[in-house]
């Protein structure tokens, strides 16, 4: 039983780290948004794993996941809308070219 929980947590941790790495290093803006989704989904896996195999199993974690999936969808929508507006102005989707402000 504990082995199962540990493997889920390990999967979530790996996803979270891949996501964080992606946000920090990817040059393509769409991939940056994808990476954020990976990080959020890592947390979702954690919540579902805890609600099934955790110390105190219960349905709350799954309910929380439903909320976060909804929120993440809204966040992706806003992120992509902002990216489209930005693309129209700059005509590039390379995130490292969005650097007009410094200091």
């Amino acid at each position: 039983m504990t082995l199962t929980l540990t493997s889920y947590l390990a999967l979530a941790a790996i996803l979270f780290v891949i996501g964080l790495y992606g946000v920090l290093t990817k040059r393509n803006a769409v991939l940056v948004l994808f990476s954020i989704e990976l990080m959020l989904n890592a947390a979702n896996i954690n919540l579902v794993a805890f609600s099934k195999y955790g110390l105190f199993p219960g349905v709350t974690g799954q309910v929380f996941t439903l909320f976060t999936i909804t929120v993440a969808a809204a966040e992706a929508a806003v992120g992509i809308a902002i990216l489209i507006a930005l693309y129209r102005n700059r005509e590039t989707a390379e995130a490292d070219r969005y650097n007009s402000m410094k200091g």
Binding site: G54, T60, I82, L86, G103
Partner: protein
Amino acid sequence: MEQILLDFDLRVMAPELVIVSAAALLSIIDLLLKESRSRKVIGWFGLAAVVLAGVFVAMAFGHEPYQILADTYRIDSFSLMFKAILLAGTAGVFLFSLASGKEEWKSREGEYYYLLLTALLGAMVMVSSADLITLFVGLELLSLSSYILVGIRKERGEANEAAWKYVVLGGVSSAFILYGMSFAYGLAGSTNLFEISRRFAEGMGGSGHLFIYLSLFLMMVGFGFKVAFVPFHMWAPDVYQGASTPIAAFLAIVSKTAAFAFIIRVLLVAYSPLMSDASWMEVVSWMLMIVAALSMILGNTIALRQTNAKRLMAYSSIAQAGYLVVPFATIGLVPFDLFPSMLFYLVAYLFMTFGAFVVIEFVTKDRGHGGISAFAGLSRRSPWLAAAMTLFLISLAGLPLTAGFFGKFYLITSTLFNNQEWLAAVMILTTIVSYYYYFGIVRQMYFLPPYSDQKVPVPWLATIAILLGVGGTIGLGLFPEPLLTFIGELDWTSVLSIASSGAPQ
């Protein structure tokens, strides 16, 4: 009588209900109004809703704390005081937006006003909730609305870029908070903060201890982004520069206050078992003190070489956030002298930051660029405007006769009281450093020649906004007692205990 979920007196949620119904109504009115009609009426209606919600919050003070919606939502002195600050800040932002004119947002004026309301609603949910799910949803409502508000001037490249940076870093910080929350849930099996606290108390010691710290650190990274503490502050200057000035003021005042309330509630309630342990002093307190010291040092020193007025204010607000977290970092065994000193500074910060942003908006708009050289010779062009700006800067710098002085004074005495002399020394030294850049603007206004002799045009609404800022800054500077007595008399210990559910009698 058995309680069911929606079995509560609707009056206890009146402020939130007013805001949510105003936001819904205004979005419909915006759709129905003719394209050519001015959307100003929506702004006025929104302002009226904020004021009405403020009246309900004021009426709710003094009751016993209570919880509704299956203990996820609580109304106590803590949430009421923070809601009052949030509502005051948003009312100011509404006035400011109505004054600064609509050419900024073109056809999106209606949208702008009701997104301000939804952002405010998210902030109010955050300060009131006692459950991780409600906290997270409130936080995201505030964040998503702010992302759009930052990017609402979509013709401008820099607004887009600011919104992009904000949405990416905001998304990452949400993911950190959520990942931390998932561990807290895993250890406690519940999302209720009081339940978590009880389970943490049982699970202290052993390997559970490490996971408690892991969840705390992940959440702190996320909050660090939201409040813009130093290792995670890099978005703030870009976002403040790219966003329109009222939105920059909104982020500096409302978002920051709400995120603060969030940190305090989570740490004081869910992580309270750590406090009874020596590890609080060794780990959590040190972590917060180092973050505070770094924010003060880096915020104030990087501000020295800023030439853009809004970027300067961004670094200044990073430093102010550092001052604000000091009383919280040093709470030891007597936690409740924390609230008076911190809330007083928060109220003072609201007035002076708001006033400074209003003046910056009209001076830089007149000049056509955002550099601090726009202030050159302002004392000869508009002496009263220059005097008001000087007052706000003096208050931000923390010199006597202003609200900022008493705020800093109480913070420093409470730090000394808790025997953290080095932190008080950092506060004093960085304050002295901050004189240099605040007085850089004063020097521009009084000692440099103006570029024209014209008065800076300031609409009457903006004059009211500036007068409110001046009134608050001087009022709290000359008579700090009433506010301090008021805050001191509120029942702060209620934050820590589970309240009865249902409406007050």
